[in-house]
């Protein structure tokens, strides 16, 4: 099978149908005339051979996210192991502000909605709505990070530093790593908005937005786990 994407600026996909190939919503064209050993995936006329017929970028992103599960699995496990070791500082139950964390969780959840709306707009080639939803997503992400910084500041004032005890170290490492991931996501979102505004997105624009969307949703599902295991279930 072969898999060919045509550039958005050259909507010549109808001609390719006549050649016996099958385009999809992204302009991706698939044909059964392959050599049986793979497929061609072409972005803006620059093709590459893939053995699966799927986008290598998307495949790599899912593999990356699978490996990220192992990273956060390790951090969450370490926290679960050490959350009871809070000698010399208030206990987690005394420290956590569930109302604040619930609001920030809701904000991050809604940022996943705005992100998927950005992906949807990108697939419709609607640049204006794409950049609008991406910007809203970045702002919601920044709100979440701001709430986390506020929470950390409060905890330090309460006497829980990074090296105070094992609970503090594992808590700050876990939530800090997640916060860094959110921050990286915000930078990616803003960079993408800038690239779309300057029409400098390389390759298939909808796929690039989808890739960053996958990263953003992953950050959200990690928080879904952290929120329940760390904040809602007492030690």
């Amino acid at each position: 099978m072969a898999d060919v994407t045509t550039p958005e600026s050259q909507p010549d996909t109808t001609e390719r149908i006549d050649l016996g190939v099958e385009p999809d919503i992204h302009g991706t064209v698939t044909t059964a005339a392959g050599d049986g050993h793979g497929a061609w995936h072409v972005d803006d006329g620059h093709g590459h051979h893939t053995s699966t017929g799927l986008s290598n970028n998307k495949l790599a992103m899912w593999m990356f996210l699978g490996s990220e599960c192992l990273l956060f699995g390790g951090l969450i496990s370490t926290y679960m192991l050490y959350r009871g070791r809070h000698e010399g500082s208030p206990s987690p139950d005394q420290l956590y502000a569930i109302p604040l964390t619930s609001v920030s969780s809701f904000v991050l959840l809604m940022s996943s909605l705005t992100m998927v709306l950005a992906v949807s707009a990108a697939q419709r080639h609607d640049d204006r709505n794409t950049t609008t939803w991406l910007t809203v997503t970045a702002l919601l992400g920044a709100t979440f990070v701001g709430a986390q910084v506020f929470e950390f500041t409060e905890f330090v004032h309460e006497g829980l530093g990074f090296t105070t005890n094992l609970f503090g170290s594992s808590f700050y490492t876990l939530t800090g790593f997640h916060g860094i991931h959110v921050t990286v996501g915000i930078i990616l979102l803003m960079a993408l908005v800038g690239m779309i505004n300057r029409s400098k997105v390389p390759g298939n624009k909808a796929e690039v937005v989808e890739m960053i969307g996958l990263y953003w949703h992953f950050v959200d599902i990690v928080w879904i786990i952290i929120f329940t295991l760390v904040y809602l279930i007492p030690s």
């Binding site: 099978m1 898999d3 909507p11 996909t13 109808t14 149908i17 099958e22 385009p23 999809d24 919503i25 992204h26 302009g27 991706t28 698939t30 699966t52 017929g53 799927l54 986008s55 998307k58 495949l59 899912w62 593999m63 996210l65 699978g66 490996s67 599960c69 192992l70 699995g73 390790g74 969450i76 496990s77 679960m80 192991l81 569930i98 619930s102 969780s105 809701f106 959840l109 809604m110 996943s112 909605l113 998927v116 709306l117 949807s120 080639h125 989808e210 969307g213 996958l214 949703h217 992953f218 959200d220 599902i221 879904i224 786990i225 929120f227 329940t228 295991l229 904040y231 809602l232 279930i233």
Partner: protein, 118 residues
């Protein structure tokens, strides 16, 4: 691959008969569909928070919290990350990493007697 195509205003739209197909791309939901999914997720989060304040014994509210957490996780992955509509290879890649992580770390935690009662 169960797809058909229509040409509308020079653009080609793909119609899928069901989840999973060879191109690796899918329509997903409509924008309103995504909003409905987000509302469901928000309601589940509200229930989680209410449960944590409910005062129920641990053996009641902890399983409920874990079930709600898993439901939210699967909902985001299936609908927002489009795994439900995408090629199944992506599903295998992601869930194999996830399941491997859960098994490895549960085994590691078990060696520290984290799951022992009391």
């Amino acid at each position: 691959m169960s797809t058909d195509h229509a040409v509308v205003d020079g653009e080609i739209h793909e119609h899928l008969d069901g989840p999973g197909h060879d191109s690796g791309h899918g329509h997903g939901l409509t924008d309103m569909g995504y909003v409905k999914v987000a509302i469901v997720l928000a309601v589940m989060t509200g229930i989680e928070v209410a449960l944590s304040y409910s005062g129920f014994p641990g053996y009641v509210f902890m399983p409920l919290l874990l079930i709600l957490m898993l439901l939210k996780f699967v909902t985001v992955v299936s609908f927002f990350m489009h795994l439900r509509f995408d090629n199944r290879l992506f599903t295998w890649l992601f869930y194999s990493g996830l399941i491997l992580a859960v098994l490895v770390y549960c085994a590691a935690l078990a060696t520290f007697h984290v799951f022992d009662p009391g």
